[in-house]
Amino acid sequence: MKLDLDSFKEITDSLMRNRRRSFLTGFGIFWGLFMLLFMLGGGDGLKAMLEKNFEGFATNTTIIVSDLTSKPYKGFKEGRYWELTRDDVDRLIQMVPELRTVTPIISRWGQTAVNDDNTVSANVKGVESKYSMIETPKLKYGRYINDIDVNQHRKVCVIGKRIYTSLFPDGGDPCGSFIRVGSVYFEVIGVDYNSSNISINGSADETILIPIPVAQTLYRYGNNVSIICMTGKTGVQMSSLEPRIRSVMARQHQLDPTDEQALFVLNTEQMFAIMDNLFKGVNFLIWLVGLGTLLAGAIGVSNIMMVTVKERTTEIGIRRAIGATPSEILSQILSESVALTIVSGFLSIVFTVMLLNGLESVVKDGTPFQISFGTAVSAALLLIALGAIAGLAPALRAMKIKPVDAMRDE
């Protein structure tokens, strides 16, 4: 098939002959591709929006919490209360070398924080500096709790966004000022603006972080801790470490290693996997619906081309009589179909890109809705293939028209 000005004119001539029909047929393709691309872009955007909620939270975190035992073991009755200790942290580091970070926290709910006349209710969390590896802080002012704070039992604190706005309604850098938490005064050393919706024991917004030994003393924990958080080294599957973590803890605290209740293990990896699967499902639906609509459009093109060929029996017969070969007729019908598909499809791509761009500027929080260049290119290739397939059956029928048919149809 040669593509020059002449064949181009032949195509536009016959498509423009029945403008409304060409337009409506093209609209089927336009809408199908629009649905597919827009949903793809929108789906990615939604996914990015959701992922933003978990920003600053290590996705391969495992936390362990102690609970009453549910099985008798080594002479102990079931229903025994036990607690994790700070020594367990060192034990885990030594026994499970695949762990990158192991850090304990102590948390205390419903504390009241006061600065002058401003009061706010807060969660107090005692942490080590390494806790920043689990929940990444976004410091607006000051610094995070460091090792010296922990070693010297300094009474310093990092406050969350809501605590800051409640206690310091005038704004400004609060570092250096003192706030009262319960009955003890703490110096503010930093403000954490992390607003991730996933966190351990209370949103970071409403949390006051203090060095863990201070919390242990203040709330009379002794050597005990509430939770131990850990992340694995790169490439380590946290779920595969779970049996070893259980056995280390069981040996130390005289627990039945099969007692699932005594040691509660939460693996965020699994939670994120569930969400990933959810999005895979959504993506599958998007492709199903989008491709389905596009296919319906292509079938529409095929149908209309069929009707067109039937209507043009005489014309095709004349062309054959004056010397058009069957392959020339075939390529003409095929190229009409491809041209119709490509023009409406390209318009659709342009329209979708513009709409997604508009959506991005309306949403304004930097969520990327736009489809990638690769997606657009593959959509264009898909269109050419669809156009050719849609045109094939009508073109084959046109090819079978004999020149005698031109004279018969009078």
């Binding site: 001539d13 062309r319 009589a321 004056i322 010397g323 069957p326 004999k402 005698v404 031109a406 004279m407």
Partner: protein
Amino acid sequence: MQIEISGLHKTYTGAQPLHVLKGIDLSIEKGEFVSIMGASGSGKSTLLNILGILDNYDEGEYRIDGTLIKDLSERQAADYRNRMIGFIFQSFNLISFKTAVENVELPLFYQGVPRRKRHERAMEMLERVGLTDWAGHYPNEMSGGQKQRVAIARALITYPKIILADEPTGALDSKTSAEVMELLSHINEKYGATLIVVTHESGVANCTNRIIHIKDGMIGEIEDNSAHKASMFGAATVMK
């Protein structure tokens, strides 16, 4: 002999096979102006289709300039039609969404002649049939006579060896019929193309130099009409 037909048989197969042509023998010289006459159902259209390589035949031989035309592939048939034969139809068969000049250009388009040259030649042809001013008009803006003259220009543009006209005046009134026939005989005389006209109008047949009567699939009488006196209404009353 330019056209030689011998022992031509054609049967349309179907529930009831129809033996349309029952052994046709016919020779036509180069540059002749011939008419084929016959009642409807006599097989004259079938013969024309075979002459125009639009249809196959079962038995016998058909040669153009000695080349046997039989069992051609679609591509070959299309090529022969394009280069050797020009068609003029009763219902003009112009393509409605193309202008007069574009319609005339079409056979050259399928020959792969470049655009500019094609247009030049088409305009030249339109001038010969006296339609230069109508080149940009669409068929539905023209009268029947004008349309037929466009169709004649289209048939002539490839300088074919043979021009086949199937009831060229069938859809025209007597005055335009006369004009069209005059144009055809002018073309025959001036360019020496072989012209075969199928008609059932004696007036039209009277314009030709030889009249071949066909009846029930057989050649009947062949009249020499070089004096143009075949019309039962006399030489002066041309048509209808």
